[in-house]
Symmetry: C3
Subunit: 394 residues, 3 copies
């Protein structure tokens, strides 16, 4: 499992509460984006938390303490999950390594403040519609047997400290390390990759790619680990921009992370952009004095990212489009195989099983890059559907 | 008059302050909707309050204590009423049963906090433009003589308790019993019907239609009154959903109001809808297990309303479109005559007089269903115009 | 210099802090308007403050204490100024009469709360890109020599008291004397005129035009000065509407400022407008009883402005379009020469020099009305460019 435990070293197990529909509200998608996943939740929200909290668990033991089983009572809008989603969310948690998924709550309470928070039973003790899904998924989990952990593909480095630093001095409205991490994570998932979200002190052994979305304070441990690291590295903005005393380092950012000096930082209002080929420099721009090779360069000559050996530095905000372009370049330099996934489809490899989850509103076919051996489901997956394939050669 | 008085039993008379232009701001119309009635106020706002406070008056005595006579000083925008509107508002209050209409204020105060609140006189003691309208309407009221009360057509049941319950646990942003009541009221008015807004304990004798827009806590008195009631009943969402202990009743909502069990409740974000024929299930959806006959069914098979004998239950939020569809069905089963009114035209029957008020921005003709005998005005009514017809056969 | 000093009479010099990009956020331009000037600041913001604080300085001595030299750290968005803008802002301050322009800060601080506030030096003591501009402009200022003060053309009367009165009782959302002053100022600048923003007690000697954008409380000194004044006068809404006791004057506004009585005041929601020829009555409308000649009259007959001799009264809110129409009429009755300026170009005459500043995103040609003698730059001016011409005949 991922190394350093974000302060979870002395916990027996780590647990979190997964409410994919309610959480959709607090993420920064457009209204149209929220509408598209109103009954499923965004395909990366639950998985992001699974992969984050797995990294918090010293011994890899983590649970979903409360899994949303139906409409809840506390978000602005509380629709019912699409039929099948509770099964999907459950299998997804298992695929990401959960030891336990517990539904909250057993029976919808007929009194108190949470009367309209669904349970597996209705307030009158009859089965809620979701109970059948839960019975099905319990059987499926048993049939699949122990899954084993996922292959080490991508280490995404996140630190709560980074989010504190960037929230205290955001420098541009709404920009913080958490959102940088989420958008890099989502970009990696859209390529079908397994991601471990790890503490900056975690070992990078065995990974092909290390992504550092936004890490102002860089520890010596991380620098040493990167020095030993044989894979590709992607570094995002503001990384290396502060010392442990919260001051700009003497030699200017990004310091030892990448050869160069950030001489100027701008945050950009909506619409103020430098257009690239399928991407734009938006929201944030660092001017880097460097001998490194410019890679992503906008039509007006502004450089978004540079490459020095196996390390790439992104001086722009990691919006989905620029993340896609940058990761596309980095992955080509690794041995990772990516998948060309339909929108809303996500994968997770656990042991020699490859899970596919269709969060989309339309049925879709898994791409030919998915192994032929079907363990569960089919190669066409309906909305809220799940399929499992076996990687016979792995 | 309407029965139980909302706590007004020991008052000699009930009064309220009518500011149709200022109130427009705090209602939930779109910007375009507010703009259309910027100089008139929405055609149902003043009338809704008239009919509500008449129901609060134990002995039917109610007054308009402060009638807006011109631009006021406290809303975000304070335009002048369209010429004629102060006369219209005054005649409308009388038609709804007001005993007295008092203008606030006599003279625009040249000092203090309300210097830009218009009066019948200007700050320099000269007549404000509105004084002529007020003199005209005073003469007209005298000429019309005592009007008599309106016929019992529709009882709309409202309770402040219902609004408290739904505001405390709205379950979906901005949904509460008050707005459900207003939208049902507006739908009834667009059909030209006389509405009494009454307390849940009020007698229903003599009404053709009883509308219960949203009434979580249902009293035994109401159930007994409904049992005796010979007319049609329309019940809106969340009705019967709570006991007096604020808990979900054992047998699930809507309890004795309608045969069935609400097994699941969803609130829906804007855009998440089930399309019907000229209406949509939006904002709120209850799943009802029932043997009752589905009436309004969306194209995807989702049921919005059911009928069981003379009672209809609406499981969706009462938006204007769905209210129109549902009331259209219910009224067909009564002896009520409705009117096909141009937009912005509203009626009120008082004794054997039928008043017509044109809140619209264009002149309009009253429909042929209006009696031929013209007491005041004409069959074409200009914007801000009023006409009175006599129901010779009534 | 302008007369009474807004309370600055006992100060040796007056100073202010000029952050054109950060200030853009807090002005009321549309998003598109802010985007157009995202890297320059709006062309009238810095100049408005220069001309205002010059009027606060008893002896005409005023400084820019902090001039933005690059991206700052405190606005919602903090882009870099367009190359050349720091030079432009500096020359503009000098042209408006600044005795000193000091950049904040000398060195970008590598510690504390303002680490991302640019300086002339970077945090590592190297020159920031802007240092070259500052060296250039220092040389240019020396070469130009003492500039002399500008000709008296327009006195724009502003008082902090006026802004307090209108902010306390705005009567319409967001309407206050400050914004009225700014929009009149911007309209005057678009005609290429020199403006002095002066206290209501300032002498009007030598001016061709006096603009009183919005002055509720009118002093006897101002009335006496206007009586002696030979130029044209433009008076905006709410002027003369209050006594020093904050009460509406006995004879109704605008009192001695203009013959007539404001009998009614309306504030208008967005979209509620009276269309004129290239302008609209929006946001605010005063009904004036007067024998004065209506000048700007909307298509529906509503009068926006009247003329009585050399005085014009505007009863509508001074939006940019109506300001342009009204000033156009007033200036025709003066000896002032105006200039037909491309968007984003601004002028300032100082002594016999005429400065031209291109705030626009495109290169532009100065109009033929500009003197032929070029002291600095050329007749075509690039974005962020400055040119200086000499008025040989003046």
């Amino acid at each position: 499992m991922a190394g350093a435990p974000f302060g979870g070293a002395d916990l027996d197990a780590v647990g979190w509460d997964s409410y994919p529909l309610g959480f959709l509200e607090s993420f920064r998608f457009s209204d149209a984006g929220k509408l598209a996943y109103a009954r499923q939740g965004h395909p990366d929200i639950a998985a992001f938390h699974h992969d984050l909290y797995r990294g918090c668990a010293a011994n890899g033991r983590w649970w979903v303490l409360e899994q949303q089983p139906g409409p809840v009572n506390w978000a602005r809008h509380n629709p019912a999950p699409m039929a099948g989603m509770v099964r999907l969310w459950t299998l997804e948690a298992m695929a990401h390594g959960a030891e336990l998924v517990s539904y909250f709550r057993w029976r919808q309470a007929p009194f108190g403040q949470e009367q309209l928070h669904a349970g597996l039973l209705r307030p009158d003790d009859e089965s809620a519609p979701v109970l059948g899904e839960v019975e099905t998924v319990a059987r499926e989990i048993g049939d699949l047997g122990p899954l084993g952990s996922g292959p080490r593909q991508v280490a995404l480095i996140f630190s709560y400290e980074a989010d504190w630093v960037t929230s205290i001095q955001p420098q541009g409205a709404g920009l913080s390390a958490l959102w940088a991490a989420f958008d890099f994570y989502s970009g990696l998932r859209q390529m079908g990759l397994n991601v471990d979200i790890v503490h900056p002190s975690a070992s990078l052994d065995g990974y092909e790619l290390c992504v550092i979305p936004c890490l102002p304070i860089v520890s010596d441990v991380l620098l040493r680990n990167l020095e030993k690291f044989c894979g590709q590295v992607v570094v995002g903005p503001r990384s290396g921009s502060r010392g442990t005393d919260f001051a700009i380092p003497d030699g200017l950012p990004p310091g030892a992370l990448f050869p160069g000096k950030v001489s100027r930082i701008e945050s950009l209002r909506p619409g103020l952009a430098h257009e690239g080929d399928g991407w734009r420099i938006e929201q944030w721009l660092e001017h880097l004095e460097t001998d490194a090779e410019p890679e992503l360069v906008a039509a007006d000559g502004t450089t978004a990212s540079w490459r020095a050996g196996s390390i790439r530095y992104l001086g722009a905000w990691p919006t989905p489009d620029i993340v896609r372009a940058l990761l596309g370049l980095a992955v080509l330099d690794t041995n990772l195989s990516t998948h060309n996934l339909p929108e809303g489809l996500r994968l997770r490899q656990a042991g020699d099983h490859i899970f596919a989850f269709n969060y989309g509103n339309e049925s879709c076919d898994v791409p030919p890059s998915i192994p032929e051996c079907v363990v569960l489901g089919d190669r066409k997956i309906i909305p809220a559907g799940v399929a499992v394939y076996k990687n016979v050669l792995n």
